[in-house]
Symmetry: C2
Subunit: 211 residues, 2 copies
């Protein structure tokens, strides 16, 4: 067992520390966020900060970093109020990663990375055609996190597109079955094993398998 104090990791080289702390915090959802600017230029960016906010209403958040990187996605969401969230299946892993490159605003990540955009039901933001589980979002709120200047952008889930057979009888969506990836750290992608599920936990009992 290695023990690492804050005094120790504060002195680590910047990139090493970024990599370490980012990967320490557990597995995360991987999604591609599709947006469009006022001139109709599309943008597609990978995120590992998708967070469930609530189901009633159906809300999800994305955390945006405060640093100087051009944040086309955030600008587009602020202006157009709409975006798509596309979970990433295994077969487009490399292309999804490559969408993180700093293309200029005139270069669409869709074109640069051979990902076909898809427009569904007149929604303004593009979806990723290769994504099997995706949904449209409408901007609801932006909350600044004062301690480090990050922004938590919350949107409301609109229309969801997914394979019929990925929905179980109780509403559970089997992401693993659709070869959906998760991510650890900044650049590590994982397929998942099938889920093991348990019934709602009650005191003074043991966990009961339901799957």
């Amino acid at each position: 067992m290695r023990e690492i104090t804050s005094e120790e990791f504060q002195n680590w080289e910047h990139r090493y520390r970024t990599c370490f702390i980012n990967s320490l915090g557990g597995f995360k959802a991987l999604c591609l966020v599709g947006t469009v600017n006022e001139n109709g230029h599309t943008n597609l960016a990978p995120f590992n900060s998708l967070i469930h906010i609530g189901a009633h209403p159906a809300l999800m958040g994305l955390l945006f970093r405060p640093d100087s990187v051009e944040r086309h996605t955030l600008t587009n969401i602020r202006n157009s109020k709409v975006y798509s969230i596309n979970l990433v299946p295994n077969h487009i892993m490399a292309q999804a990663h490559q969408c993180a490159a700093r293309y200029d605003v005139h270069t669409s990540e869709f074109t640069a990375n051979q990902l076909e955009p898809e427009y569904l039901n007149g929604f303004k933001a593009p979806f990723v055609k290769a994504s099997k589980i995706k949904w449209s979002m409408v901007f609801e709120s932006e909350t600044e996190i004062p301690i480090n200047g990050t922004s938590l952008v919350i949107g409301r889930v609109q229309t969801i597109y997914l394979p019929e057979n990925s929905i179980h009888a109780d509403g559970f969506v089997n992401l693993q079955d659709a070869e959906t990836l998760c991510v650890s750290g900044l650049d590590a992608y994982h397929l998942c094993h099938p889920p093991v599920r348990f019934a709602y936990a009650k005191p003074h009992s043991v966990a009961q398998h339901i799957l």
Copy 2:
């Protein structure tokens, strides 16, 4: 491809909808949060809302729901300012799930679920001995999310404990190697396959494998 509009899912049965929306939003980290109250009673609760906030300083967040469930963990963090985060290895999956049961304040989830607490370096909050990757946290801030009354609690990473061989040369922590679980929905646990890693993405290139 099934299409589900917000008009449709708004009318779904409450629990079905909760299950669906929670599992739709991708894979999440699974952790057990260890706290202690002012009388020395320990508490241990599973969370699927751990979120990376930043690496400089090293900050992580947990989202707490606004509903009427007793929130021992939040109360203890507010009062004591300290907590432990313990990633969950596969062999304690069922016990971790069972820690979600609504035990009264006098029943420790450690005792009820045969999880041995561990005290490290005089830190006041208990760790989970069986967890291989864990760290101490000091409370930094609490931000209310106005749209649904959830609270984002942010803490600063203090001391980290993990297997020496899980740290790669560039600082990456291999969670999969330690059989760390991720979670989807409210009750589905997954082991992960080994990571596939790519180099920092540059425009007009293709993704380069580094693992």
